[in-house]
Symmetry: C2
Subunit: 377 residues, 2 copies
Amino acid sequence: MCAAGRSSRRRAASRLRKTKMSDDKLLPLRQKIDAIDAQILDLLNQRARVAQEVGHVKAETNAPVFRPEREAQVLRRAADRNPGPLLGADIQTIFREVMSACRALEKRVVVAYLGPEGTFSEQAVYQQFGHAIEGLSCVSIDEVFRDAEAGTADFGVVPIENSSEGVINRTLDLLLQTTLTISGEVSIPVHHSLMTASGKMEGITRICAHSQALAQCNAWLNQNYPSIERQAVASNAEAARMAGEDQSVAAIAGEIAGQKYNLQTVNAHIQDDPHNRTRFAVIGRLRTAPSGRDQTSIVLSVPNKAGAVYNLLAPLARHGVSMTRFESRPARMGAWEYYFYVDLEGHEQDEKVAQALEELRQNAAFFKLLGSYPLGL
Amino acid sequence: MCAAGRSSRRRAASRLRKTKMSDDKLLPLRQKIDAIDAQILDLLNQRARVAQEVGHVKAETNAPVFRPEREAQVLRRAADRNPGPLLGADIQTIFREVMSACRALEKRVVVAYLGPEGTFSEQAVYQQFGHAIEGLSCVSIDEVFRDAEAGTADFGVVPIENSSEGVINRTLDLLLQTTLTISGEVSIPVHHSLMTASGKMEGITRICAHSQALAQCNAWLNQNYPSIERQAVASNAEAARMAGEDQSVAAIAGEIAGQKYNLQTVNAHIQDDPHNRTRFAVIGRLRTAPSGRDQTSIVLSVPNKAGAVYNLLAPLARHGVSMTRFESRPARMGAWEYYFYVDLEGHEQDEKVAQALEELRQNAAFFKLLGSYPLGL
């Protein structure tokens, strides 16, 4: 050990010498950076003091502390005006934290989310609100809604659609009934892995996953396992459970589900689109003003007769409003067979959107505006 | 629906009027903020350009892109010089992202961590390196070490101690063998919940958890369930598994473990210290220079005879070096019965630490310096 110890100490000494040399050249540059940091620090606190004045005005008029449209504008402006070399996305991460810290001086916003802590939902919370907030981990989507409705939380963050289960039915059901509105949308990148109990593909005769995940990995599966049967099951978690019990089944799922059922990864990140994302809705008692680039979510229903849906949606085309998403789902109760969840470009206060919405409202048997909110960044 | 619709629209209109009033007063303040943001944006990019010059110098001398001691100094200075009103912790969150974004212009640091994605380990990565990095999720602690040793990753982040399992044996074992050094420490807040299969405490005769978790919830348990037997088990996850199978068992565990075994929360956040944390070690091929407030981790062993440990540690007392942590664990193999993991105040290059370390090295049958690194913020 003695000789090895000496040689390792010699290496360390040489490394330290090299570090020292570079430090002499770096010192003046670091002093420059320190001087810039001092100015940034000063400006951040100047900003915070103005934000406190904003807080006083808001308190007088009872206006909400968190204004999603305003924060979206600040983030867009920062990215648009950014001359570089910093990347726009990194600039937005910084400004999100700046706004979060300033906002926290007025009030530390409480955000309920579907727990547990330390999962994607919590990351979605930070992505919308920055880190200077108080997170409230809930055991169910129902509890998130209840906390936000009761005022225990200022906002809730719930999954609305992911590639493991498709749309999240419970969230859609609760959106139908709630008095809350959607005030924002967050998406988080998700990756799929091909997993089996053994970590190998020998003896595998079926690859199981939710249909959405199968579709998202289609090209990769065609290329790598074209001859293995694919089977759509209720969710990727269900596929993982099956793979844990049946040596002939491989599952496509996220790593958390794989870990739960003691699966080994055969291939990671197999989805065709590397930017595959899970969507979350931000819900609150707040109605969001226009930010300039917004989206409106509505849900509606019509009696089940031929052409009804087509006729229902005619006002959108007439007023030149683009539909960006359209989901239908069977109604559990009531007089209608389907609910249609529709996302539109624009804000409910934009004139053409307002007119189209008014006509939709008149024509539909059931109509509910879920919210207008800034488009995700 | 019609009357309700009208009244809800009236409320919405009143809300919008109020928002409008407040907006008139807010406009000049927002313009001030926008002007400050423009200056911040400019300074951030100035900083980035100087950081690029730093990158050129580093490239010439082959110096590492990420210097933990330098980043720790920047964060401490920002908090120390912060006049307010922003909180020091929030300022540090902002500056961490600023450094991360600037560093990414030189090189997007690759950090391997114990996956899955979307868990506490990933949060620990962001807490050390900011968000402008590339995370590499690994399936085992061994793989994190391998990736960092092989250079696939620039750094690794591994759990070293938590309140669910105490020290993480696998990490300690690998630290013994690795050529990597510890270049930082991160801690993440963790919460314990009392959980049962039913979500109620009726019929519960035992509360199970890892001994560390039981100790951390001691006061709360004494106050709330003084007469229920407590049983220490191998880990909180094991306790959760037992509670899932046995209606008479309650588990203390984190929510992720509870979810895995379909438990319901009876009480959340029951640990006595609300700032209870899990520790992670940052490991890399880099030897970290002094930051001014550092910690040194070593591991050593002595032959098993009376007074040996006491004698071994005498140099620390003699040179006035404080010991902040001392863990002993049985050796699996080799001539010694125990390894001692010791954390010291100060850096290996501090004179008194260097002298104490040299004496320890001479006296110990086995001695390894795991690393000197900035104290957690």
